[in-house]
Symmetry: C2
């Protein structure tokens, strides 16, 4: 696979250096999301198209089908993709556990920030593997909330993050799935499995990530579950508020914040 070779062409150190220099989350997680010219790619679980627009733009010579269970999300994604004048994506409603495609349809499959929400990520991977061609690369990108650490440290902040982890667990998901990608990929018998951690390390020397990641992505996300967490008695509101304040505190000039995404690569190889 040409794209597989490209992806693994970087040494680990080289990848690290590129990562150190990246100023946006997109660069950190998608710098090597590159498919061979002419590839037919499935994006499984596209939501409103947040990753779709990045991946499709980076691969103008590939054709994408992006699916999501939610009709409403697909409608949103269609509007956005249309407004950006992106022409290499077809958006369709579909169930990831029962994909409306024949066996061995796609050259590659990519799945971003979806497995964390599924009751049965292994079944989803099996279905993805089914529709992937022999020799095709499957890529999964997931976060891991349990990888979060920061300075100044704060037990309140960790408790606030735990609210998100617990609520996601109640819904049958797993916010710490990033670290499990290696065993998951192995469990569905993919070959050449390799997992590349993508640490987002942020200090004041990276103002774009201070705003774009610490504040507007991570802390905003945790803040968003506060009401539900308090309603369900997981935390009391003043403790949650302290936690959120302490997360924002890490965005000050002497603060540091670290979160790790995981990107897994595996190849489908039919048994002989």
């Amino acid at each position: 696979m040409e794209n597989t070779k490209y992806v693994h062409g970087y040494s680990d150190r080289e990848a690290l250096r590129l990562n150190d220099q990246a100023e946006t989350l997109d660069e950190i997680i998608h710098n090597d999301t590159i498919f061979s010219k002419g590839s037919f790619v499935l994006e499984a679980g596209c939501g409103v198209g947040a990753q779709t627009k990045i991946i499709a733009s980076k691969n103008p010579d590939s054709t994408f089908i992006s699916v999501d269970l939610s009709e409403a999300s697909i409608r949103e994604a269609k509007k956005m993709i249309h407004s950006l004048d992106i022409h290499n994506v077809e958006l369709r409603q579909a169930d990831i556990y029962h994909l409306p495609f024949q066996d061995e349809t796609f050259d590659n499959v990519i799945i971003c920030f979806v497995l964390e929400h599924l009751h049965n990520p292994m079944e989803a991977l099996k279905e993805i593997k089914r529709v992937s061609k022999n020799g095709g690369t499957i890529i999964a990108i997931e976060g891991d909330h349990g990888s979060t650490f920061f300075y100044p440290d704060s037990t309140y902040a960790h408790s606030a993050i735990d609210c998100q982890i617990q609520l996601q667990k109640q819904n049958g998901g797993n916010s710490n799935i990033g670290r499990e990608l290696y065993p998951l990929f192995k469990s569905v018998a993919l070959s050449d499995v390799s997992v590349s951690p993508r640490m987002v390390y942020v200090d004041a020397s990276k103002p774009q990530l201070v705003e774009g990641f610490i504040k507007n992505t991570f802390t905003a996300m945790i803040e968003g579950v506060g009401k539900k967490a308090v309603q369900q008695g997981i935390i009391d509101s003043s403790a949650f508020e302290k936690g959120i304040n302490d997360l924002y505190r890490t965005s000050e000039p002497d603060g540091v914040f670290s979160y790790t995404f995981f990107k897994a690569f595996g190849v489908k190889e039919n048994a002989l």
Copy 2:
């Protein structure tokens, strides 16, 4: 820093562990520890020379003075450096808070796995800065035990790690200092400060790190504080044992382990 306060102790096993750690992590943390030809470099806090041998070998055209507070460690280091036929290092006993060198003596200074043990890392950095020439680069490398996560996850394992963190804190140290290198370097007014995280991500596809890092470095280190932690009532012995078992469990074929070191670079620039 007195020898007795050094949380890891000075046993032979400890010397071996430090050496194992350096050899396993060599590439990850020292790939870019490269000084200009002819540089005169201070290594502050060399212990038994675990990093010294790597740094000196990588920079045959630089001259090193490596110092440590412990006479016994310096003796060990001298033996080892001599046995390896390394000729560009002078080893001397010295106190990092009162270095026996004039202002602006060294082209560069490097300090590895030392700040974590100090009561006052900022004072040590000031002293290091004093003996560094104007325009010289200061490099610090530190771990961060709080950055550790793994699969399968285990609260027992986290409690065992916390024993080490607490014992080190009792001795005036800080096992989570890696994440603080950015504010520390800024606090002593170094210029061009940049911190490069070095994540050691280990799964079964990296058998050398499974053995060399998960088992023989990290878990062995935590195991080493068990007796003291139990004696001090920080944990009961069966819980500690479960924690150690769960750490070893992460080295099995479906296990994953992650730990992050931090490498900070800063430049001394005299005020005009």
